[in-house]
């Protein structure tokens, strides 16, 4: 396989731990990971997705301003002809009592899946496998279940 995933923290958010863990998790699951790190602009996501012919763009945000940071994001991706699955996850709203509402907001912005900050990396990997119709190889399955 070796599908490419671009990931990064959008906006001026500098939370690096989550993205580091995600990078490790997706690499261990057999993806090629391009980690753009923190404080990544919409344009950088688009550029790198094109350069690496990415199958998926994973956006992280933990400081509560994701909605603002993602306005027009999918238009920017479309302009660069990025045809990738897009996920977003993290603390997506300042007060997130109603995650259903938050999910709706980000689905409307164009994201294919929306995750809260409690999501296990494995769940995101599982979802991506499903969306990209990938079956884990024998050896990978062993790694994951070990």
């Amino acid at each position: 396989m070796s599908q490419t995933v671009v990931l990064g923290v959008i906006g001026s958010d500098a939370h690096v731990v989550g993205i580091t863990i995600l990078e490790q998790a997706f690499s261990a699951a057999g993806f090629d990971v391009v980690n753009l790190g923190v404080q990544t602009s919409q344009e950088e996501f688009a550029e790198e997705a094109v350069d690496h012919d990415a199958e998926a763009v994973l956006v992280s945000s933990l400081y509560g301003h994701a909605e603002q940071d993602c306005q027009g994001f999918h238009e920017v991706l479309a302009e660069s002809d990025v045809d990738a699955v897009t996920y977003i996850g993290g603390n997506l709203a300042v007060g997130q009592d109603e995650f259903d509402q938050t999910r709706r907001t980000f689905r409307e912005l164009g994201f294919d899946r929306v995750f809260d900050s409690e999501t296990d990396p494995e769940d995101a990997i599982e979802a991506l496998r499903e969306d990209l119709q990938i079956t884990p190889t024998e050896s990978e399955r062993a790694t994951i279940s070990s």
């Binding site: 500098a14 939370h15 690096v16 731990v17 580091t20 863990i21 490790q24 998790a25 261990a28 790190g37 923190v38 404080q39 990396p121 070990s146």
Partner: protein
Amino acid sequence: MIRDERIPADELRRIDEEIRSDWETGADVDFEEAIEYHESLPDRKRFADVLESADKPLLQPRAGVPRLDDQIELSKYLHEEGQADLIPTTIDSYTRDNEYEKAQQGLEKARETGDDTLNGFPAVNHGVDGCRKLIDAVDAPIEVRHGTPDARLLAAITFAGGFQSFEGGPISYNIPYTKRHGLEETIERWQFVDRLAGAYTERGIRINREPFGPLTGTLVPPSIAIAIMIVEGQLAATQGVRSITLGYGQVGNVVQDVAALNALKKLGNEYLPDEVVVTTVFHEWMGGFPPDEARANGVISLGGMTAAIAQPDKVITKSPQEFQGVPTKEANASGLRTTRQVIDMAIEQKIDIDGIEEEQDLIERETRCLMDTIFTHGDGDVVQGTLKAFDSGALDVPFAPSDSARGAVLPARDDDGRVRIFEWADLDMDDDIKEIHKARLSQRADTEGRKQSFRMVADDVDAISDGKLIGRPQGDV
């Protein structure tokens, strides 16, 4: 090419004038007059002297609000109700980004509405006079705490304003705080800050400098933190600083924390010039806190216990409201008093724990490896060595957002809860040391019946906020 050399006098003057024109309050800085002001301060406000002569750990919280009156009131409260020995002045985020105009707007709005529209005290906007009103009003030494990559104007104004201690450094306020500030740039800018502190020092006003030890605050292996503390101490000493407080952030394993503080003190004294007075500061846990004040008090108390055993010169306390962000002044004072009670009950006890010497020895060996690689990379120059070692990945900091560090090294706890290195990437460490870490992590993997993997890292990052030290698999061992 930037090197570890003292900024010449004319260059110091040139930068000083240039930087002071960045914001209108810069014009009020007058070095000679500032020396006179400092000389007029009573002994109990002289930061370096108070810290260096203390016979037990001094306590200091974190705190900053936009308005001067509020900052004075907050400082007095923490001194009187929290019994803080040393008072902080935490600077707001706009000032950290050198956005003085935005800070000004925030300050004016705070004055109009009474709300805390900034997350700290905009010292540049308050100017020399504003700072002195704070220094005059509070009967204790006060330090500037911030997180500013380019802190030149902040230093010029706060030093002239009477502050005698200044946190930060070119690595410790770059790597964990910002993505794109180049390390070479921040080193150059901090050489100015240190040189300015050195200029005061030469006139008898010993400005205390405190590199920020916790770095990214997330499971930083002690030797990486200590090596960076030593480098920043060396850079400051070159510029004439003579009172340096090296920092270290609690990882939560008592043996490793005590060993690290011992190693920090020992290696700091060994690597820094004799004319520098080296002190140490211990930061209570800087990682994620439990979302529960009762549990947070437990985390804070474990820090107090560690401080009672290791006896650093200073402890930076946390509050039980850490989880929710900026604490109320009551919660801040509460964290101080909880820490004080634990230290005062434990400090007179002889608590000698087995294994501290061995752990300290390991930390020292690791730190020497890193210092050696810096020396080699720079061909003897610590500035070039630091730049090149970060560039090659021979020196690295886990979870660093900065583009100047690889951020490729990954820590994980061993079976005893000590922070080891799981992913070395290109960190330049002797193979026998790597084997020790590997064996310790392998022991944990056996206990947990799983392979060593990034899952341990992820589990460990959340463990303390989830109520444990080690991120064991769910279902327990």
